[in-house]
């Protein structure tokens, strides 16, 4: 889970900041000449500057290519998604079927969702069987966002609305049933 890493990186950094802040403020009781303090701070500053640049460049180079825009196309399965106040219309175009109103997809295949909206902005968010958010894109009227995703495991996935769309926003869900191919 990318967001779990994000949260952990945050926790570590936030604790570090609080510790540094506590250290600096506890040290404020014994006065020292401002000039020598400035010199000390400058020394740490240049070190910190290069460290920060290094971390930023590393994080940037590592994460940017993973952006969802670059998941290459040529999908095996195609689904049209239309957000409406306040439900989802999931229309199989290729390699998927509707069964009792549920969208049924094969596991392990590259799926392309072509997402748009019939009225206001919605957000098409896919949640795993155990309730973790996997990926999302906006559903904007007049535009179609192409979201590529491969469901690895079979199970019942959920669609949540991820953009506030009025009083039905908190009750705008859909199901996606993912089966092992051939079942």
């Amino acid at each position: 889970m990318v967001s779990t890493y994000g949260a952990l990186v945050f926790l570590v950094g936030a604790v570090a900041m609080v510790v540094i802040a506590a250290f600096v403020s506890f040290q404020s009781t014994e006065p020292e000449d401002p000039k020598s303090v400035t010199q000390k701070v400058y020394r740490v500053r240049s070190l910190y500057f290069f460290l920060l640049l290094f971390v930023l460049v590393l994080a940037y180079g590592f994460t940017l290519p993973k952006a969802p825009y670059f998941r290459d196309s040529s999908p095996d399965v195609v689904v049209d998604v239309v957000g409406k106040m306040w439900f989802w219309e999931l229309k199989p175009v290729k390699g998927a079927v509707l069964e009792n109103g549920d969208l049924v997809l094969p596991a392990g295949r590259k799926v392309e969702f072509r997402v748009t909206s019939a009225d206001v902005n919605h957000g098409f968010g896919i949640y795993s069987t155990d309730g973790y958010i996997l990926t999302q894109t906006q559903a904007m009227p007049g535009y179609t966002n192409h979201l590529i995703y491969t469901f690895k495991k079979p199970g019942i996935y959920r669609v949540f609305c991820m953009e506030f769309c009025g009083i039905g926003h908190h009750n705008m869900f859909a199901r996606i049933v993912v089966r092992k191919e051939g079942e």
Binding site: M1, V2, S3, T4, G6, A7, F10, G13, A14, M17, A21, V24, S25, Q27, S28, P31, P34, V37, K40, V41, R45, F49, L52, L56, A59, Y60, T63, L64, A67, P68, Y69, M85, N121, G123, G125, T129, D130, G131, Y132, I133, T135, Q136, T137, M140, Y143, T144, N145, R158, F160, M162, E163, F164, G166, I167, G168, H169, H170, N171, F173, R175
Partner: protein, 474 residues
């Protein structure tokens, strides 16, 4: 010497703030199923709370900046009062539109939701909300233009922007607070004009419903305006700290080449990081997505390398006394940093693909507002009112910060587990474990929020203990 009384600001802004916290408490209590609020009312409250908090922060920041600039330049103080007057009209207008009319498209009013009320909010409430925002927008634009005019009139354009450091002509160096022209006033003016255009388009649409606007273009305009306004508000808080902290640390905090470079860079960072709000609009041109991540990451450089190290040189081994004002500034800068750090993480496109519109978003911006900007504002008001009620204020601060940390943690945990934001209720979520978690977190938050409220009341009472000190002309 112009007379400028801070008192009306120190009374009105905190009163509105208290009401807005109560609205926040209501929302959290409803999400935790402790009370029952109709979804229509919930989303109207949410819209009022969001617009109100962002607007009050902007007005507070501009007031503080005006007070500090008055030390150095000749501002027309009538415009500052006009700002407060317009703000009051806007508050009354928005309260009517939301609480009476149930106008509830959320604080960033994405197109076309305000115009598709589905029978919930009447037509008059849409017009009233648009006009109310125009009233405040005009006042904000005027005061920003006045800041710019006054600084340039006294110091010249080049010096106001801090460019004398780059041309090396060794001219007179204006005080640090003047340099905020770069990162606050200029981006503010530019983007308020975009906001004005947006509100005009909305007004036209309201008068003539057959008008069709482009949702993607409008979304870009909304964030160019809204993101920037919120962002420069934060920098106004930083400017207050730059200007006032030295009075408590006893050490000078001067402009130099690095500071000038940092604030000039911030001009671009403020304007170009905006695009991180549209990562999940895959149709947005790719270069704009990349610009978003690039400049959001770059934001960490001037703020930490220059501002934080400057701040540390103020505090470290200074022998200073920690009275309420420097303490609130210190904690405010810390909250600003922690919230900013959470924002930078979320500005990573892959991470945003999961965090977008989860509780991570309110988590980070509530951090740098509640325990960031607003703390600095309370410190400023305490200072400007010349209050002496130290121990009461510190007691309030302790309660406010402890309560705040507890309240915020519940947002962060929710975000980490992908709980979506802006859900009036979580009971409909079809995954049992997530629905359960999403309802437990607000229950815990509701225990902490009264500590914020009571803490703030104590701070407010202490602020009112002063009678308002004269601006000292330098």
């Amino acid at each position: 010497m112009k007379r400028f009384s801070i008192t009306p600001f120190a009374v009105i802004l905190p009163l509105v703030f208290i009401v807005l916290i109560l609205l926040g408490l209501t929302m959290r209590a409803n999400q935790g199923e402790l009370i029952q609020v109709d979804p229509q009312l919930f989303y109207a409250i949410m819209t009022l709370h969001g617009l109100g908090m962002a607007g009050t922060a902007a007005v507070g920041g501009l007031t503080a900046l005006a007070y500090l600039l008055l030390r150095y330049v000749n501002l027309n103080t009538k415009l500052v009062y006009f700002l407060l007057f317009s703000y009051l009209i806007t508050v009354v207008g928005l309260i009517s539109a939301t609480l009476l009319g149930h106008f509830g498209p959320g604080w960033y009013v994405l197109y076309p939701l305000p115009f598709k009320p589905m029978g919930v909010w009447p037509n008059w409430s849409i017009g009233l909300a648009i006009v109310s925002l125009i009233v405040l927008g005009v006042a904000i634009l005027l005061i920003q233009l006045e800041f710019f005019r006054a600084c340039v009139a006294r110091y010249g354009l080049k010096n106001s922007l801090g460019w004398q450091f780059f041309t090396g002509s060794g001219e007179y160096v204006p005080p640090l607070v003047i340099i905020t022209v770069d990162a606050v006033v200029l981006p503010g003016v530019i983007t308020t004009l975009v906001g004005a255009a947006l509100l005009m388009l909305y007004f036209v649409k309201w008068l003539n419903p057959s008008t069709e606007l482009d949702p993607l273009l409008i979304k870009n305009m909304i964030f160019i305006w809204g993101h920037t306004l919120v962002n420069i508000t934060m920098y106004m808080g930083v400017a207050v700290v730059y200007e006032l902290f030295p009075e408590f640390s006893g050490r000078p905090w001067k402009s130099n080449k690095f500071v000038a470079l940092a604030w000039n860079a911030t001009f671009f960072i403020v304007l170009l990081a905006v695009f991180h709000h549209l990562y999940m609009d895959f149709v947005q041109p790719l270069p704009l997505h990349i610009t978003g991540q690039t400049f959001s990451y770059l934001a960490a450089v001037p703020s930490t390398v220059v501002t934080v190290t400057g701040f540390i040189s103020q505090v470290y081994k200074s022998g200073m006394r920690w009275s309420f004002v420097p303490l609130s500034f210190f904690l405010g800068i810390l909250g600003w940093l922690i919230g900013g750090y959470a924002a930078v993480i979320d500005s990573t496109i892959v991470v945003n693909n999961q965090f977008h519109n989860t509780l991570w978003v309110p988590a980070h911006f509530h951090t740098y507002f509640l325990i960031g900007f607003y703390l600095i504002l309370w410190g400023f008001l305490f200072y400007a009112m010349g209050s002496k009620r130290e121990s009461l204020a510190k007691l309030g601060l302790a309660s406010y910060v402890l309560g705040g940390v507890g309240f915020l943690s519940m947002f962060y945990v929710g975000g980490a587990f992908g709980v979506p934001r802006r859900y009036a209720e979580y009971s409909m979520i079809p995954v049992e474990s997530l629905s359960h978690l999403a309802q437990i977190l607000p229950k815990i938050a509701v225990v902490f929020i009264p500590y914020v409220l009571v803490g703030f009341l104590l701070i407010f009472i202490s602020i009112l203990g002063g009678s308002g000190r004269e601006v000292q002309r330098v």
